[in-house]
């Protein structure tokens, strides 16, 4: 966070005259990156605004107005995908905030085997999402999966994690949390470590309890970390595709479809215009939700 202060400071005026002679900072240094980014990211993004309004075969396109979008909000399985995307993003980012914060506080306290715990919690972040998805699909099998077999030992009848339509989306979200909570934890650890010890010293002199320490010192001072974790995992949750595709392919039925999986299914089916409309919907959703969210999180932070 400390580096953000170096934002947009206007250069000294004398620098410009000097720069014209022979700038040590030539503008063409931007070019290689700018060309790749413009051609392969910006151009398709702008093109998507047009193609989402067409019936499109990649070779020719017929302008059909807002039909694709109308379909997106009319077809029950597409609406389902929209709702699921929101549920998934809220559930995963909420759990990552709570669990990540708890783990970070635990790992910065006087606890044995800190190094081991940190490594073990963080490692899944680096593992292939598809590999994790397949592994948990096997573990979550309703009758032969290890999770339900273990629950049965305790006399609990485990649910049909991925085959129950009401549960499938949440089961995938749980695996997402399992895989991603390590990142939230290390971000929180960085946040906790950055809190000056004086605050706790002052709180101790005032006779603060452990809970008060957490509620009035740790929690407010971790707000930047919380903002980061929420933004990051919320965007990730809205865009998620690979885990869902590896575990349920949106099923059973359309029970765990998200916008990203709908985009892929429509693409596979050859409905390129509809697929692109899905992309635009996702883009608008992220813009509408994430921009106010980050502004809110950062404004509160300014009040401290």
């Amino acid at each position: 966070m400390a580096v953000s202060s170096m934002g947009n400071v206007a250069g000294a005026p004398s620098q410009r005259a000097q720069a014209q002679k022979r700038s040590p900072y030539p503008g063409w240094f931007y070019l290689p990156a700018a060309i790749i980014y413009a051609v392969l990211f910006l151009a398709p993004t702008f093109a998507s605004l047009y193609f989402s309004l067409t019936r499109w075969t990649l070779f020719d396109s017929v302008f059909i107005g807002f039909d694709n979008f109308a379909q997106f909000f009319r077809e029950p399985f597409l609406v389902k995908g929209l709702v699921n995307t929101l549920i998934y993003a809220v559930v995963t980012s909420g759990l990552k905030v709570v669990i990540g914060m708890a783990l970070a506080i635990m790992l910065t306290s006087q606890i044995v085997a800190r190094g081991y715990l940190r490594s073990v919690i963080f490692f899944p972040v680096l593992v292939s999402t598809v590999g994790v998805g397949i592994t948990f699909t096997v573990l979550m099998h309703p009758t032969q999966g290890m999770i339900n077999e273990t629950l049965a030992l305790f006399g609990i009848a485990g649910p049909g994690w991925l085959v129950d339509p009401r549960l499938a989306l949440f089961s995938v979200a749980l695996v997402d949390v399992w895989k991603g909570v390590g990142l939230a934890t290390v971000i929180y650890i960085a946040g906790v470590v950055a809190i000056p010890k004086d605050y706790y010293e002052a709180a101790r002199i005032d006779g603060a309890t452990k809970w008060q320490n957490f509620r009035y010192v740790t929690l407010p001072l971790m707000r930047p970390a919380t903002a980061t974790v929420i933004t990051l995992s919320f965007i990730g949750g809205l865009r998620t595709f690979d885990l869902i595709w590896a575990m349920t392919k949106g099923g059973p039925g359309f029970a765990s479809d998200t916008i990203a999986s709908v985009i892929y299914k429509q693409y596979q089916a050859g409905f390129y215009g509809l697929s692109t409309a899905g992309n635009v919907v996702l883009f608008v959703l992220i813009a509408v939700l994430v921009v106010p969210l980050t502004m809110l999180l950062n404004r509160k932070q300014g009040h401290e």
């Binding site: 980014y37 963080f122 680096l126 598809v130 693409y267």
Partner: protein, 275 residues
């Protein structure tokens, strides 16, 4: 008394994390050691015999040695795109941190947009086809560069801002050309953040599933992650092979993790806090 409580808490934490985070990996390893019949039970049991090498051989030679092709393809994509990312992102980060013009806000906006906006899939395929790059390794490499540039630029820019400007000015006075200033003076000084960039981006690109799925179709172009996905149906009754496959593709990230744990965590938290 207090010490005993913390020790107790520590032991509880170790047991809990072991059950939640370690057992799934042990499960993968155990399954990879089993034969077909035993693995069909999908339980957490000790392998009755040592079948790892048989399984590895079986997986590698499936579908005409597709795994070998996939590992080669993934390595090419990872190495090439990370190399380009490092050079191009460092160049942008350098100028962005040093030269303040009225274009800077626009560039910063584009970088943030790149972190947030989901790529428009079909229009990208359309552009790639127009450039004759669809379904080629070159196209895939450039896509990975385009999608991961914003993150790398943010890492570099933050680091370059901490290097005093006097460095470049001294070099200029000594008669160095801009290219020399960058490649001989700045780039070597960026080594710590370059290592972070290489490690974080390599893991991400090696593990990328979605983009190769869209932009790199075809068996000849299979990447490691797609292989696993393709074999999921092929090995649907041979769990030992499926998990051997998972084990094989988990090894590269594991090696990176063992050697570069610190850089990965530093990179992911620094980039995250900025982003």
């Amino acid at each position: 008394m207090k010490q005993r409580a913390s020790l107790l808490g520590g032991v509880a934490a170790i047991v809990a994390t072991f059950v939640v985070f370690v057992i799934p990996f042990l499960f993968i390893i155990l399954m990879a050691f089993k034969d077909r019949q035993q693995s069909a039970l999908r339980d957490f049991s000790w392998p009755t015999g040592f079948h790892l090498w048989d399984n590895v051989f079986e997986v590698v030679k499936t579908r005409n040695w597709m795994m070998i092709t996939a590992f080669i393809n993934s390595s090419i994509i990872t190495v090439a795109s990370v190399s380009l990312l490092v050079v191009f992102a460092a160049m942008v980060g350098f100028i962005l941190a040093r030269r303040k013009t009225r274009w800077n806000p626009l560039i910063e906006f584009l970088i943030l947009a790149g972190l947030m906006v989901p790529p428009a899939v079909v229009p990208t395929i359309w552009v790639l086809q127009g450039l004759k790059l669809f379904g080629t390794l070159h196209g895939m490499i450039l896509i990975e560069v385009a999608y991961n540039l914003p993150f790398s630029i943010i890492l570099y820019r933050a680091f370059i801002a901490t290097i005093p400007k006097d460095m470049d000015e001294a070099a200029i006075i000594d008669g160095a050309r801009p290219l020399d200033v960058f490649f001989r003076i700045i780039l070597p000084m960026l080594w710590p953040v370059t290592v972070t960039n290489i490690v974080v981006q390599s893991v991400g690109i090696f593990n990328d599933f979605t983009n190769p799925l869209y932009y790199l179709p075809g068996n000849a172009n299979a990447t490691v992650q797609l292989t696993l996905f393709n074999f999921q149906s092929q090995f649907s009754t041979a769990y030992n092979l499926l998990f051997t496959n998972i084990l094989l593709i988990t090894i590269p990230p594991l090696i990176v993790f063992l050697f570069f744990n610190r850089q990965i965590v530093a990179g992911m938290t620094a980039g995250a806090v900025k982003g």
